[in-house]
């Protein structure tokens, strides 16, 4: 468990660094975030999705997203907009458009 936790933390950190543009140390992200959405990710998403141990699926951690991806992007998006369990509506980004949220969900979930 401790090893998994350490791996999760390392992957989340790498994903976050990827969002900051340090491409030489980050795994290749499935999609690139716009400059605006990099800021949105850091302000609204990373607090939970780059924080191990609180129950949110971690960006870049394959095991956290495999079953969620199987539900399809549209389901993930609807749950993002409406809120679902611990996930707050709009991911607390009230300014985000549907396209913004679509890009952010794809980025975190590893969807092409």
């Amino acid at each position: 468990m401790q090893a998994r936790s350490r791996i999760s933390r390392a992957l989340a950190l790498l994903a976050l660094l990827g969002a900051c543009g340090t491409e030489e140390t980050a795994p290749a992200p499935p999609i690139a975030l716009s400059e605006q959405n990099v800021r949105t990710y850091q302000a609204a998403c990373a607090g939970c999705h780059a924080r191990p141990g609180i129950g949110a699926p971690l960006t870049g951690v394959e095991a956290d997203w495999r079953e969620r991806r199987a539900q399809g992007l549209e389901t993930l998006l609807v749950r993002t907009v409406d809120g679902y369990k611990g996930m707050p509506p709009l991911g607390t980004c009230g300014l985000c458009s549907e396209d913004d949220l679509r890009q952010l969900v794809r980025y975190m979930a590893g969807l092409p």
Binding site: G83, Y84, K85, G86, P88, T92, G94, L95, S97, E98
Partner: protein
């Protein structure tokens, strides 16, 4: 993992194994309260953090500069409401006009090492403010227990942490810049535009948009948070000592139980570490334990108490901004009233008695915090030190039966409602609670004569 005794999770799961034998579900089936949004590329609905407040705004504004914001304000149009990060439970935000987000106005504008003051854009999330100030050799003296909010939203509702020597976030603002509803930019502090300054430090977003604030900070410091379960009677008897001997002190009382959870936080020189930290499922496990023990007449209540009081301790050390704030991945709705500090324990006891006598099926812990008095016109702590009592209900459940039953208890103790949390008071009742309320209303009329920033909720609480 706890360093002493069984962990909270192990104890709860052990108790719930007995529940499985009785055919109880491990966790309550939770209703999905959201009606699925339609995703057709059109404007999205807006919902607050709990999902209770909803609206369909015609426009979303995200100005990238103060000049762009002023132009948007001068453009006129319908109702406009500043929205922050959407963490308020009350109806401060919903409108069908425009929602204003300052998400593009973030970060530290300037910092002064001598005075330990920093000017900060109010679109900054509290979670990002701690590291940003730390880079300048500064730290907020206190923080609320969550950090999802924007600084502007937290200030507009006098959001607070705990600590008898520490005021709400609004009390650490020593200067601010206000974009008025008519498109002017006002620089305000105790000497310049002093009336606006005292009102706009907690404005409900009714005076304009506060774009920048100058914060009085402290040097960076590290904290050790220690939590433990004790009997509530012992906690209340020990309050005079605990509230003064600890830098930050709060406790949670458990409805239908004799148990309480104490949290004492003090400065430390220890390296960052954590033991027995937050469990994302702990509140749902507690709920299942509560329902299980209620089905055991005669022994259930004693069993519930015994299990809670055997929970382990936990410790968490690190930078102040990491220790004072906590992740909240169980969503809820909340009502909070602040009563005079000396009346707090009596008010809490009457609340717990009301819950017990009416047999309200609630288990969500009740949060109790001390906050220092201040001179902010609409702060809940104006001219009197406060004891803030917060009651919560899971977001999937109807909060009305619970909140309706306990709100009159708060009124009896001259409670002032948190502006960002649920309450049913109108301007007439609120005016009796705040000595400067009428002056605030007069100032609002002068700054926003057309009522552009007034939605239905503000119309009720500010008599517009």
């Amino acid at each position: 993992m706890s360093r002493r005794g069984v962990t909270r999770r192990e104890l709860l799961l052990g108790a719930l194994a007995g529940g499985a034998a009785l055919g109880l579900p491990r966790t309550r089936a939770r209703a999905d309260s959201a009606r699925p949004a339609r995703l057709d590329g059109g404007p999205l609905p807006w919902r607050n953090w709990s999902g209770f407040q909803v609206c369909q705004p015609a426009r979303r504004l995200g100005p990238a500069s103060e000049s762009e914001l002023l132009a948007q304000l001068r453009d006129g149009g319908g109702v406009l409401r500043p929205a922050g990060a959407g963490h308020s439970f009350s109806g401060l935000v919903p409108c069908d006009g425009a929602l204003l987000f300052l998400d593009n106005l973030t970060g530290v504008v300037a910092a002064d090492a001598a005075s330990l003051q920093a000017e900060v854009w109010t679109g900054t999330r509290l979670a990002q403010l701690g590291p940003a100030l730390d880079a300048h050799g500064q730290a907020m003296p206190n923080l609320p227990d969550i950090d999802y909010q924007t600084l502007g939203g937290a200030l507009a509702t006098s959001t607070h942490g705990t600590g008898a020597l520490f005021g709400s976030l609004s009390s650490y603002v020593v200067g601010l810049t206000l974009a008025t509803p008519t498109g002017e930019l006002l620089e305000c502090d105790a000497a310049r535009n002093a009336e606006v300054f005292h009102a706009a430090r907690c404005s409900l977003g009714a005076l304009g948009a506060v774009t920048r604030v100058r914060l009085q900070n402290a040097r960076p410091f590290a904290l050790l948070e220690e939590t433990r379960f004790r009997e509530l009677d012992a906690v209340l008897a020990d309050l005079p000592r605990a509230r003064t001997e600890n830098r930050y002190y709060e406790f949670y009382a458990f409805p239908h139980s004799e148990a309480a959870l104490e949290i004492a936080t003090n400065e430390t020189e220890r390296e960052p570490y954590s033991s027995g930290g937050d469990d994302p499922d702990s509140l749902y496990l507690l709920e299942t334990l509560f329902e299980l023990t209620r089905r055991l007449p005669g022994v259930g209540s004693a069993l519930y108490d015994a299990i809670l009081l055997r929970m382990g301790t936990s410790e968490h050390a690190g930078p102040s901004y990491r220790v004072l704030t906590h992740p909240r991945t169980t969503r809820f709705n909340e009502m909070e009233y602040t009563v005079p500090a000396e009346a707090g324990p009596d008010c809490l006891r009457e609340l717990l008695r009301t819950i017990r006598e009416r047999d309200l099926p609630v288990c969500f812990p009740i949060e109790c915090r001390y906050v220092r008095e201040d001179d902010v016109w609409l702060s809940m702590f104006h001219s009197r030190p406060g004891f803030s009592i917060s009651v919560h209900q899971f977001a999937e459940q109807d909060f009305a039966p619970y909140f309706d039953a306990v709100e009159p208890v708060f009124w009896k103790y001259e409670g002032r409602p948190h502006w960002g949390k649920l309450h049913s008071l109108d301007s007439g009742r609120l005016g009796d609670l705040y000595p400067r309320f009428r002056e605030f209303l007069d100032l609002r009329r002068r700054l926003d004569p057309r009522g552009r920033l007034v939605n239905a909720h503000l119309g009720t609480v500010l008599a517009v």
